[in-house]
Amino acid sequence: MKPEFNSFVIADPDKCIGCRSCEIACAAKHRKYNQGKTIGTMNNKVTPRLFFVKNKGNVMPVQCRHCEDAPCLNACPVNAIVEKDGSIIINESACIGCQTCTIVCPVGAVSLLPRTEGNVVTGGIQVKVRAAAYKCDLCKEEGGEPACVKECPKDALRLVDPREDKKDRSVKAAMELLKINANL
Amino acid sequence: MSDKKTVNICCGTGCLAKGSMEVYEEMKAQIAKLGANAEVNVKLKATGCDGLCEKGPVLKIYPDDIAYFKVKVEDVEDVVKKTLMNGEIIEKLLYFETATKQRLRNHKESEFCKRQYKIALRNVGEIDPISLEDYVERGGYKALKKAIGSMKPEDVLEEISKSGLRGRGGAGFPTGRKWKTAADIDTSPIYVVCNGDEGDPGAFMDRSIMEGDPNSVIEGMTLCAYAVGGTNGFAYIRDEYGLAVENMQKAINKAKEENLLGNNILGTDFSFDIQIVRGGGAFVCGESTALMSSIEGMVGEPRAKYIHTTEKGLWGQPTVLNNVETWANVPIIIEKGGDWYHAIGTMEKSKGTKVFSLVGKVKNTGLVEVPMGTTLREIIYDIGGGVLNDRKFKAVQIGGPSGGCLPAEYLDLPVDYDTLVKADSMMGSGGMIVMDDRTCMVDVTRYYLSFLAEESCGKCVPCREGVKRMLEILTDICDGNGKEGDIEELLEICSMTSKASLCSLGKSAPNPVKAAIRYFRDEFEEHINNKRCRAGVCKELTTFGIDEDKCIGCDMCKKNCPADCITGEIKKPHAIDADKCVRCGNCMNICKFNAVKVL
């Protein structure tokens, strides 16, 4: 395991209250065809790229660690996962939903979710919803601060750049974590 | 000094089937018996098909110019002793002109032959296919030498464009323009492909050429390669065509030996090679893009041609694809010049000649090469000798399965690309099937659709499902289960399939239905509404009866009835027991007095 990491978002479990605003914000920001600002413009199949976890006395979103030499990227049989300047990005439209990435991801940061855009659309109505793999892409394509970080009411989420703040406990956490995962 | 004689025995597939190989062997033996010191020195040749398959085996003697037909092994001795030794003619083996009821010493004077104009078939039947000498003797490779020696590639292009030659595979795309597109692209490799995947039932002109004159195809492709800067050639030949593959291969090898093919052709820096690919055996592989996928080793399914294969064909490279007949035309055009060729054919856009395989209910069947614009009447009546048993002409089906049937009113239609399309038919590869009044147009249409339903690649919905369901409707109609509105449904599916299908096969698949309904709608309606098949073909819709006034009681029908359902004494009108009748139609076919009719 290299000492260096890519940038990633991590949640501070002590600050997170588990309101799920981050998931909603994430799903909302990644919409392609409809950019409405109210819930009524979203559809029921909310597809976040980070995932709320509820353990006993511990609620927080879990998201992609953007591993160097990412297993998901290496395992993807259809090259739907690519490395773009230090971030591991899934091109959902190229995903056929084989789930190989979800099997090999060490942190469980990839989920297979119904893909409601660019699917079998007929005169506006959707006859079949296919599933695709979703995970954090740091809002690279959409640009700006990651939606989850921006929206969190408790500032529990933050985007860390290991190259800069090595001392940061979040970074340490991630490093530790990857060590754990390495021997998982 | 003994005089030389040449004996050509046709060894095309047709004659072979009728035992010409045995005849050939026998002849060989007999000649051997004569020994070297005989006063005649006989040269024996196995030639390709000269079109009169139905009269084979064909045996020709030169220089006497005598042609014998339906020659059997036991006739060979006579031929040698009488004709070869003593110049005596064996009447019964001579060509019988049905029109004049005369025997002709040489069939070339026959109506069948003398109205033809052989360009593509110029050598077929006259030479030993695999003998390069024979080919050269008749002017072969002159064109190639001329081109390489004295013409620039663009000159060759120019001549082809001038000639007005159009693809003989069916669509009739101007060959010159096709070559030009490829030539203008500055890349390598550029491929030259021969489409020898002749799939239309009843069509066999391409086979005959590949079997009987392979070098003309090879020379044609080589000339194209020279013109467009082609490097590799592929001859895609239907797997069933064993002999064609064999002869083509032999010819290719020989041409290579003689440096007419391969590296540095005729000592120049122009190199071109041809390799043979055996077809996947699917009708759809005759479609250019499907054929290319097949050559590339993938499933023979068509792709959309939004980018022409001349720009991106085999392995994404520029590819010139023409069919066998087209290639066979090329050398002679270069040899005699584009203007010469341009002078043949119609005033409009159809130049040169076209080979048709004339089959069905017609007296003389076989390969027929005529100038573009010749009318159907000339082909069917003058050359073909008219409808078999002088029954009533009903329709002629042109252009293979995806062509259409044309009725009597169209007999004077000049046969060329554009008029045929206007008439809801098409040139296709030149199949021409004559039908008489004993043919049911609904049944025929059903037959073609069943062929297409099986031969469609099945990739796109309009063609696969459309044809399948049209077939279902047609079958119902033939079985007497036709429903009101079926004709409209057929037309509805037709119009969609002909526009929305992926490839030209799919787009043309509805043609038989469209044409049949256009020209024989009443017959469809009769089937659906009156439950009657006037041709007496659809068994469920047929009852045979005997016209008492016409019947003279010859008893022929009775004798030939497999169900013994015909009663009646000699010289008295007969009668048919409809309950026992199996509707085989023998009686009707046999009756010379048209007394048997469909009620």
Binding site: I17, G18, C19, R20, S21, E23, I24, A25, A28, N34, Q35, G36, K37, T38, I39, G40, T41, M42, N43, N44, K45, V46, T47, P48, F51, F52, K54, G57, V59, S111, L113, P114, K150, E151, P153 | -
Partner: protein
């Protein structure tokens, strides 16, 4: 009497116990520990729906919950094809009921929309926040199948006539002061359960849509020549509490409910989607005359301070018989949770106050109780910026967008006001006509019967 239990609920299966709802609840009605599903204390809850607006505990596609989506939709009174994310905190809807009625040929269907609806409804169809789409809304409602598209703004103008007159009467006759507005049902419920002793401070006027409802089934029935029994009044409200108000026993006259069903702005959007009406492309249309005719004064009811401003525009002129010098009374618009102003009526100065956000009303009530409040007239709105920020409005996805949404909606209303022909309720020709032909005079017998109401104590005596 309906209880909030049936109006505002928290879905235990979806609640993560983040307690953000508790933070926004003005009456501390949400109880439970951090990280555990929350419960609503129905005694305290005023059904303002602010919890509904803030909740993000959604039904996710990746962690299954026992209750299937279809059941959840049913329980919430939502149409079965509603395809929006569902959250833990929700208000029970009436859309299903309304959809049925719309299919019923023999009822005469009248709809009215609150002022704040027209500046928010477009948002649920992707239009920019706060887009004013009154014309589209009218057209869409007609397409939906309503026989008459009337408007609550008309009712608001009517409210001003009555409430204004009531104020002037109290002032003139030394009645109970200060007088509080009564448009906001959540505030009224709060007062009833917390300060029953001060209920006579609240204007006896019914809220605008109830007034309108009463008129639709009487005067409206006459002019449309229909049997009031056949009339079905639907109110589209930015508010989750209006249905509660609608169901109050006293909200009826001669056996007919003033309003038969109140749905939220969000529910209207759902109904339109359900009927495949494309709000974006639909051509604008007018409201139906005469009861859809409204002024700018009625319009600004949707924003905090709006009722006050409208009342002053009319009160001033009725009292002084002079045209008001400046019609835009910005001093009562927006700003602090509690603000006061003074209006010179010539021979005396009218002292007014505006409360936005129910949290801020306590101090005022205590002052009144202690007799330390010298104001004459006080507007109270439960929601932070008035009705435009109501619990039934389109739910803004991002907290960071909320301020913009509220500001734009407000702007939308004030622009609408500025561009309307009539901007003072008493100048509304149809209102005049209504008094001439039917009501007689403000506070008259007919008005008293139809447009005014009483309040009851809801205080739990222990």
């Amino acid at each position: 009497m309906p209880t909030s239990a049936s109006m505002i609920n928290i879905d235990e299966e979806l609640c993560t116990g983040c307690r953000r709802c508790a933070d926004v609840c003005p009456v501390d009605a949400i109880e439970g520990e951090q990280g555990k599903p929350q419960k609503i204390n129905t005694e305290k809850c005023v059904m303002c729906g602010q919890c509904v607006q803030v909740c993000k505990g959604y039904q996710s596609v990746y962690d299954e919950v026992p209750t299937p989506l279809s059941k959840r939709l049913f329980d919430r009174g939502l149409l079965k094809d509603v395809d929006e994310p569902l959250f833990a905190a929700y208000n029970k809807g009436q859309a299903k009921k309304v959809k049925e009625i719309l299919q019923n040929e023999d009822v005469f269907k009248i709809v009215q929309c609150a002022p704040a609806v027209r500046v928010a409804i477009g948002e649920d169809f992707g239009l920019p926040l706060g887009t004013l789409s009154a014309g589209k809304m009218a057209a869409a409602l007609r397409k939906l199948g309503f026989d008459k598209v009337y408007d609550t703004n008309f009712g608001a103008d009517l409210t001003i006539m009555e409430e204004g007159s009531e104020l002037l009467k109290r002032v003139a006759e030394g009645g109970v002061l200060p007088m509080f507005t009564s448009c906001c049902p959540a505030w009224v419920k709060y007062a009833e359960q917390t300060y029953p002793e001060l209920l006579d401070h609240i204007s006896s006027c019914k809220s605008p849509h109830q007034m309108a409802g009463a008129i639709f089934k009487t005067y409206g029935a006459e002019i449309n020549k229909v049997n009031p029994a056949k009339i079905y009044n639907v109110s589209v409200m930015p508010c989750t509490c209006k249905e509660f108000e609608t169901e109050r026993e006293e909200m009826e006259n001669s056996g007919y409910r003033n309003v038969d069903a109140a749905i939220t702005t969000r529910e209207l959007a759902q109904l339109l989607k359900d009927a495949n009406i494309d709000f974006n492309t639909i051509e604008e249309e007018e409201f139906d005359a005469p009861l859809g005719m409204y002024t700018g004064a009625g319009t600004i009811f949707g924003a905090t301070g709006g009722v006050m401003e409208a009342a002053l525009r009319t009160g001033y002129e009725l009292y002084t018989k002079k045209t008001i010098p400046s019609i835009d009374l910005t001093m009562v618009r927006g700003g602090e949770g509690f603000r006061t102003a003074e209006v010179d009526l010539g021979d005396f100065k009218l002292k007014v106050g505006v409360v936005s956000g129910l949290k801020n009303v306590k101090q005022v009530m205590e002052a009144v109780k202690a007799g330390k409040c010298d104001l004459h007239f006080i507007e109270v709105m439960t929601c932070p910026e008035g009705c435009i920020s109501g619990g039934g409005q389109p739910k803004v996805i991002l907290d960071s967008d909320k301020e913009e949404a509220y500001n734009n909606r407000k702007k939308g209303l004030y622009n609408h006001d500025a561009n309307l022909t009539y901007r003072k309720s008493h100048e509304n020709p149809e209102i005049k006509k209504l008094y001439e032909e039917f009501l007689g005079e403000p506070l008259g017998a007919k008005s008293h019967e139809l447009l005014h109401t009483k309040y009851i104590s809801r205080k739990k005596e222990n």
